[in-house]
């Protein structure tokens, strides 16, 4: 029985690794034997729920997992949080602050974990950051250059949920709509409900546009939690098997 169980543990097949641009000075991509999986989606898209389920499943299957996400770096997470509360940062500053947060986690968590052979689950990656900036009118070529430091993930899933459904889920959970997730800084509407719907619709358009360049998988997030989990498992299973 014991031997039998062990046979079920799949050792992930190393794939071709590369950075979007020049990457990080001194890092050899071929040494990064683990797998990087990114899950993108708005608040209320079921991202965190799905990641928690994936972690449980992957660990049961014998894989070591490491999680990263936005605003979690040792270097700038507190400062970024404080700056956002005051809403005093201009768009380029906020954008670069988030890039710094991303780079710190990339170099100190993602790359070492991949080198050690872990499966890294990113609760949002560079695409959310790029989409937010695109909606705010930032230059795409500028963004592409900055995020040339990023490693190309083995899989990226974008959980797409209709804006109206997102409203319902966020209100059911928090009884309020978050200032930033409503894009209130853009001044689309003084009404937070209208602003949320307009902003999330614009974010979806930006994601669709990015999808054409970066080729990630769009998952219909309007379905049941279980349905989405099983689709993700199937797709990630294929990635681990090197398919």
């Amino acid at each position: 029985m014991k031997a039998n169980l062990q046979n079920h543990i799949v050792v992930p097949t190393p794939g071709r690794r590369k950075f979007y641009g020049h990457g990080i000075p001194g890092v050899k991509a071929e040494e990064l034997v683990g797998k990087l999986i990114a899950v993108e989606g708005a608040d209320g898209s079921g991202r965190s729920t799905q990641i928690a389920r994936l972690v449980e499943w992957l660990e049961t299957c014998g894989h070591a997992t490491v999680q990263v996400g936005l605003k979690r770096s040792t270097l700038v997470s507190e400062e970024l949080e404080r700056a956002q509360e005051g809403n005093i940062l201009s768009r380029t500053t906020l954008s670069l602050f988030y890039t710094t947060d991303f780079a710190d986690q990339l170099e100190n968590i993602i790359l070492p974990a991949l080198k050690a052979g872990a499966i890294v689950l990113a609760d949002r990656y560079i695409y959310t950051l790029m989409a937010r900036d695109m909606v705010r009118g930032m230059d795409e070529a500028w963004l592409k250059n900055i995020y040339g430091i990023a490693l190309v993930p083995d899989a990226v899933f974008y959980l797409e949920v209709d804006a109206e459904e997102l409203v319902q889920r966020n209100l059911a959970k928090n009884a309020t709509l978050d200032y930033w997730e409503s894009g209130m800084d853009l001044g689309l509407s003084r009404d937070v409900f209208d602003s949320f719907v307009q902003y999330q619709t614009a974010m979806q358009t930006a994601f669709r546009r990015l999808q054409k360049t970066y080729g990630f998988t769009i998952i219909n997030g309007n379905r049941s939690v279980d349905g989405i989990t099983s689709e993700l498992r199937k797709k990630i299973g294929a990635v681990l098997a090197g398919k």
Partner: protein
Amino acid sequence: MKTFAQLKFPGRLIAVEGLDGSGKSTQIYLLRRWLEAEGVRVYFSEWNSSELVKSATSKGKKRELLTPTTFSLIHATDFADRYERHLLPLLRAGYVVLCDRYIYTAFARDVVRGCPPAWVRGMYNFAALPDLTFFFKADLEVSLNRILDGRPKLKFFEAGMDLRLSSDPYESFRIFQGRILEQYLAMSTEFNFVVMDANERIEAQQSIVRQMVSRRIDLDRFKRQSPLPLPPPVRPRGKLVELEDEPAE
């Protein structure tokens, strides 16, 4: 990339660049005093001084958390904050803005640290170029001695210790500054630096600086209608020679 004048901003930006110990901060301070006395609307901004970003930068430096990439990004964040919140509106309002270090500091330093030049330059391409840039060129030994004669305790990043050039901070600082100087010299023609002989006496340099400024900028256009009373002299850090990364506290 264009200058503020080329972009039809009413204001003008003057930057000083050079190694630590080249005397550039003294010169821009004296320029500022003169412009204030002349009744010119003037604003001074220093590299690495955004209140918002400061706590992250000093934490990163103290705990040696910074890599070449995050070092570069956090300084760009600091610059962007000052640029968007102070520099742009002031230049729109017709101020003469004086910058102690501008994007060329990043171009030189981040590249020495190993970041690709195209990446660094691309990151800063939201910023317009200065209308006038003074580069204070002193002999490497002169700048080094100005700093090292005081035998300061060199901090990790300012000595370039993260580059593992030498285990001796003073030796590391010498090599690091030498490489930065090479980068500055390579940019000098491309960006039209006014190259100043920083080995000259302070007064001689200042007289050239003031001449250049009045020749290149029509200062009368920037004067207040009713001059403000001259503010008291505030030297930011009360010293003639200082290291760029010294914390302000």
